[in-house]
Structures are given as structure tokens and as C-alpha cells.
Symmetry: C2
Subunit: 294 residues, 2 copies
């Protein structure tokens, strides 16, 4: 048997993404040993019961030493504290990576606590579901999906290659880009849509009692999809919006202008404005279907 | 063999919904004969080629006489003209129904052209896909979904019962409500979500070139779902927004207030506001899953 890519992978925070990594790493034989560090005793126990890790603990001193890859999968707002907790236990040569949906803030919060000689390769798999927790993961989550890496200038090429190989082996396609560019792209494709979904489901939730009951009963295509998105993990998303504030606020502003223009067209009965806009959006859908990301 | 529910059903406008009705009616043996009246020669020909109707024509004089059920499935903005075209050919005793997503405007536009003795039973199946046209339909579209009927006071009970029986036989659950109440409920569950999806995909479409390409490439969960909704038929949706103006404008207003509140919370770093809101929305999703409409 060939040598696995890593000796020991330590997954920090065993939620949807890291528990999917655990399953995919095991499925494809990418590490000799998989351990997890999680602040919740309950999550550690669940991960052990699911049999997706070889060891689990809330104590960094037990889990971090000996890991040649440390993958951080906590909500991005927790990264600074996590970095301070694991930093003293990281040996030179260890690769640290992450799966956070925001890259500038994660780099800012993580870098100061990393000892000399530790290789940091920030990453973000464009994959997920509305479910959370260690039981929600599955080995196929990353197959056919993009993983974006945003390494800083001067990072060891071998470390980047090993993280890239890990994602390829789990079925992902790899793209490398600048962290701030990543945060702009994701503000449009993921952060704004989630905020909008949370908003509209909240608007429905505030309706007068009898109307609210019927909204649930007659939840049509459209609203139903929004409720699925708006069922995503509240802490994770709170942190994303606060960590990618500038790009998200910019996109909300553009969105609000566009919505106001359509609102005005509806009020004044300008059918041709609506029809033109609704026809343009079909082209984007076709492009996404063609790109096999639908 | 028992008598089918109807002798001849005439489907006016052979798009996604009416072509699905054609298939379901045939599958369950609910009419002896199915014909279609459509303003497009092409659509008539496609319907005949698909074998989902027994006859098709653009001429009301050929298709309407002899039908004991006329089901109108055109965009709601076309209903007034359709009613004027078919009115002279409707015999007393004929049942007229429709599948429009807006009920007040359809009733307003249709009623004046109906001769004495014709029974009008407005309806709306809460079912659909983002695809349109006669080839997009399928017999199972209505199974397990609600169909809302909004009959006017004084309508013949037997006519209401026959339309209700048709939907039940195609697998739907039936609810009866007031037309204006219908329009309010649908403004939240369907019309506003579609407008929001069209808006956000339009916002992305307007981005600077390189960013737009990456939005397509890295279309994540969230945006991807919105593009599917925003691929819905432009004419149909233009008409819905213009026909349900008051309720839609009221819901846009509430939505905008709620979005502005979240925008402010992001700007000022008020994490607890975001977390509270995002937690509340999970409950609505659970209720929809429990109601088996997910």
C-alpha cells in the first residue's frame, strides 16, 4: 500500500465540513490517523460514536502535537481564540489550513498565533448543506465542487501542493485566488443570498398569526427554497456577515437599488422593465447549468 | 368502465401547468377527450406531437364548443383577451376554471365575458417548476401539493365539486379560500421570493466582467437556488407582479425594512441581533418540513 498523504490530520471543530472531511479522508485513505479537537464534549463524543475519528478531545495539548495537518473548521468568529489555544502546541513543519467562508478575517485572526516554521494555507470548499453538526457530514460532499485556496505570498509550495492534493483526492477542483477577491466573489454568490433568505423567512415569521400558518401550509417553490437556506447554522452565518462586512454591505447596497427599481416598475405598471430584467436572469442560469454547478 | 369525470376538457394555453394537467387527466382517465386552444401554432403542433391532446387549434370556434370544462392556463395578463375570445363560444352549463397565481385580477378580467349559465370556479395549484412550455409538463406535478379554489358566493356547488374532484384525482389536496386572502398569502410564499430571486441574479448579472464570470463558476448553494427560481417564465411573472400589485408592494416594503435592520446590525457589529434573527427562521423551516411541503 502506498503512503497516505498525511500521517495525522487534526480536525479542529467537528461540524458539517470537518466531519465530511473525516469521512472522505477515511474513504480515500488520505491519512493514517484522524483526530478532532472540539470545544464541546458532546461533539467529541458524537464523533467517536460515529466512528469518523480515531481520537477526540477538548484539550489542544492532547490533539495538536503529532498532527502534520491541522484543519480549522470552526465558525470564523472563533478562529482567533482557536489560534491562541493551538498555537503553543504547533511544531515547525506542521501545515495549518481552514475551511472558512471568509478569508481576509481568518488570515488576520490566525496568523499572529502561528509559530515560526508552520505553513498556513487558507482554503474554502464551495460546498455545504443547511444541516450542521458531526452527524450531518458525508464523504461525497466535495465531489465535483470547487475548493478555493488563498495562500499568502511566500508560502511553502510543498505545503500548498499537499493541501491541494488533499482536496483533489476528495473529489474537488482547485482554484487559487487572492483572499480579498475571494471575499468579494463569495459576498455575491453565498453571503448575500443567505442574508436575503434569512430576511424573507423572517418577514414571513413576523406576519399576523393566521397568515403565518398559511404561509407554512402553502409554502410554494420559491419560499420553500429560501427556508432551506435560512435553516443554516446561525452562529456560522452571524460570524460570516460580521467578518466580511465591507463586501457584504456593498452587495446589499447594490441589491437594494435593484430591488427598488423593480418595486418602482411594479408600482407604475412598467411591464417592459420587468420583462427585460426577468429575461436577462435566465442567461445566468443557463451559464451555471453549462458550468455543471447547477 | 365508469364514466370519466368530464367528457371534453379544453385546455386554454398549453404551457407547463396545462400540459401537466393533460398528462394527469389522461393517466387517471378523467376525461374522454382533451383538446387545447393556444395562440401559438408552434405550441399546438408540439402538443399534438407529444400526444398529450386529441386536438389543438388557435381558433376558439373549433376548440371551445363541446367542452364541458375549459381550463385557462395562460399568463394572467392575457386572461382578459382570452375571455373575450372564448366567451361567445361558451354554452350554458360549461364549467370554466383557471390555474392563475393571482385570483382577484383573474376574476375581474374573466367574469365580464362569461355568458349567463356558465360556472366559473377560480383555482390555483401550488405547484410548478422553473421550466416552461408544453414539453416541460409531467403527470405527477400536482401529487401531494395543494390546490386552492376561490369560488365566488353563489357559484353552483356541483361545479365546484367537479373541479375539486378533478384536482383530487390528480393527487392534490384542496383548500377553499377568499380570493383576496389567496393573493395575500401567495404574495409572501411565492411572488416576493420570485421577485427577490430575479433581483439578486440581476445584481450579479450587472457585476464587472471578471467578477461575473467567477460568480457563475463558484455559484454556491444559495445563489444557485436563486438562479433556478430566476429562470422562471418572464411573461408569466411580469403579469403576476402587475396583477397582484398591492399585496406585492406591501410585502416588498416589509422585506426592505427587515433587510435594512439586518444591514444596520452588520454595519455596527451587532452579532446578537443577527444570531437571534437567524435562529427564529429555523423554526419556520421545521414547520414546513413537518407539514410535508419541503
Amino acid at each position: 500500500m502506498s503512503q497516505p498523504l498525511f500521517n495525522t490530520i487534526c480536525l479542529v471543530g467537528i461540524g458539517l465540513i470537518n466531519s465530511s472531511i473525516a469521512r472522505a479522508v477515511r474513504k480515500h485513505g488520505l491519512a493514517a490517523r484522524i483526530v478532532t479537537l472540539d470545544s464541546s464534549d458532546q461533539a467529541c463524543q458524537t464523533a467517536l460514536e460515529l466512528g469518523i475519528v480515531d481520537a477526540a478531545s477538548t484539550d489542544p495539548a492532547q490533539m495538536i502535537p503529532g498532527a502534520d495537518l491541522v484543519m480549522i473548521g470552526t465558525p470564523v468568529g472563533a478562529v482567533e481564540k482557536v489560534a491562541q489555544a493551538i498555537g503553543p502546541h504547533l511544531a515547525a513543519g506542521t501545515i495549518v489550513s481552514d475551511v472558512g467562508s471568509v478569508k481576509i478575517a481568518v488570515i488576520r485572526d490566525l496568523t499572529p498565533s502561528l509559530p515560526e516554521g508552520v505553513h498556513f494555507v487558507p482554503g474554502h470548499p464551495i460546498a455545504g448543506t443547511e444541516h450542521s453538526g458531526p452527524a450531518a457530514g458525508f464523504a461525497e460532499l466535495f465531489e465535483g465542487r470547487w475548493c478555493i485556496l488563498t495562500p499568502l505570498p511566500g508560502t511553502d509550495d510543498k505545503a500548498i501542493a499537499k493541501v491541494s492534493d488533499l482536496w483533489s483526492a476528495m473529489g474537488s477542483m482547485i482554484e487559487t485566488m487572492d483572499p480579498s477577491h475571494h471575499d468579494q466573489v463569495l459576498a455575491v454568490t453565498s453571503h448575500l443570498p443567505h442574508l436575503i433568505a434569512y430576511t424573507i423567512v423572517g418577514t414571513a415569521n413576523d406576519l399576523e398569526g393566521h397568515l403565518q400558518q398559511e404561509v407554512i401550509k402553502f409554502s410554494a417553490s420559491g419560499f420553500r427554497d429560501f427556508t432551506r437556506i435560512a435553516a443554516s447554522d446561525p452562529i456560522m452565518w452571524r460570524d460570516i456577515f460580521l467578518s466580511n462586512k465591507e463586501a457584504v454591505l456593498e452587495m446589499i447596497q447594490r441589491f437594494t437599488e435593484d430591488l427598488t427599481a423593480l418595486q418602482r416598475a411594479i408600482r407604475w405598471g412598467e411591464g417592459e422593465v420587468l420583462e427585460k430584467r426577468f429575461t436577462e436572469t435566465r442567461a445566468i442560469r443557463r451559464a451555471i447549468v453549462d458550468a455543471k454547478q447547477a
